[in-house]
Amino acid sequence: MKLLRVISIAAMTLLATTSCVTATSPKLGAGVGRDGTIAAKSGKASSLKELIAMYDSSSCIECHEEAHEQWEASPHARSIYGTGRAAATMITAMKNGFMSWEYSGVKTTKDIKVEHFMGCMKCHLPQLADAEDKVAVELADTLLDWYENAKLALKDPDNKKAAAKRDAYQETLTSLNINCLVCHNRMAITHKWTDGYPQHDTVYGFNDGEHDDAKFTKMKRSLIMDESILCGQCHGMGPNLELENPTQCATLYGSYMWAYTAEGGHETCQECHMKKSGLGHKILSYSDEKMQEMALDFEVDAYASQWLDGSTLKPKAVVKVKMKNKSGHSIPDG
């Protein structure tokens, strides 16, 4: 009888908790129609300058200084340029890729359209989809001009003109990045027919309400802000089969779903790369000491043994290395 009473109380508590959650849950629908997006309101960008301005998040800094500083030190802040290597790879993708393929329709940079770049820019600059094709041409020329002047400046350190041009192009390239508005607006809603489109005047995070900003006056909850799919949009599943000529860069979200969660894992990207690591918006991976420490168990055992080679005993050291990947995806991956 006593046991029954305990079960009854537990059931009552569960019901009370459930109704409490229902009563306080925010309404779904983090945005409304496509016509309310940043791109729809401003029209497509017709230059790199316009594209940078369209997704300018500098007004966030005043209130979110710490997050900005963390982000500034992250690879997201240099998603096209990287350390220079990423930008060079984009050029390779142009020259060895769509500029050399027979049916791409591209012979010179003047033929480049936004769709040609999306193999890279789907993730390195998703907002390029909100620009006219001539912006793709401008981006291609900027990459090539940066590289040309970087080479000249490297060859002749006294070539100030080339160094200045290199720096100017580099500044443009680093201004094109994955900033606050990319994650907290443009990519904050994956299921747009269900939840609505991200709106031009709204930042998406964990709360609903007013937002103290001249341009982004509202806050709304993004239902995926703490879910792995937010990151999985770019740190993806393998080949981007939606493209006319599929590309493949990141495979991490595929590994996360089919090798980690399929085996019982349940942590999210954000839990490890932002919270437990203490990295916040810096969101690093293999290069960060804390992430390295969290990533795996590593154990080595070594002993002397022998190998019988015909009639000769050959002494040897046997070294056994055990590793257990504790992350939510294959290592390495990206």
Partner: protein, 104 residues
């Protein structure tokens, strides 16, 4: 990291993302699973006049390093773990007169 398949056909590896569309194999560490790698390292030996062999050194210092190589080379590589120990041929040996091996 999966070894990407060139244009999703054959067994060649694609280099740039623009030419990768599948995987040939995945040599990465799978999440949640223990992987063991075994290495057998022979002691260098000297040839003796009688045709026999003897180890040049009785000890071998083994260093194991785990590197993360984002580009497959040491460029931008990060050292994740390092382990070192000396393996001795005499460490656990006991005196014996029993002839090992097959005498000629």
């Amino acid at each position: 990291m999966p070894t990407p398949q060139l244009m999703a056909r054959g067994n060649n590896m694609g280099r740039g993302p623009y030419e990768k569309s599948s995987i040939v194999e995945d040599t990465g560490l799978p999440p949640g699973k223990e992987v063991e790698e075994r290495f057998d390292i022979f002691f260098p030996v000297e040839e003796l006049d009688n045709g026999g062999q003897v180890a040049e050194e009785r000890e071998m210092t083994v260093t194991v390093q785990l590197w993360y190589k984002p580009f497959g080379t040491m460029s931008s590589a990060a050292l994740w773990r390092e382990w070192q120990e000396t393996v001795s041929l005499d460490k656990r040996s006991k005196p014996t007169t029993y002839p090992s091996g097959n005498p000629e």
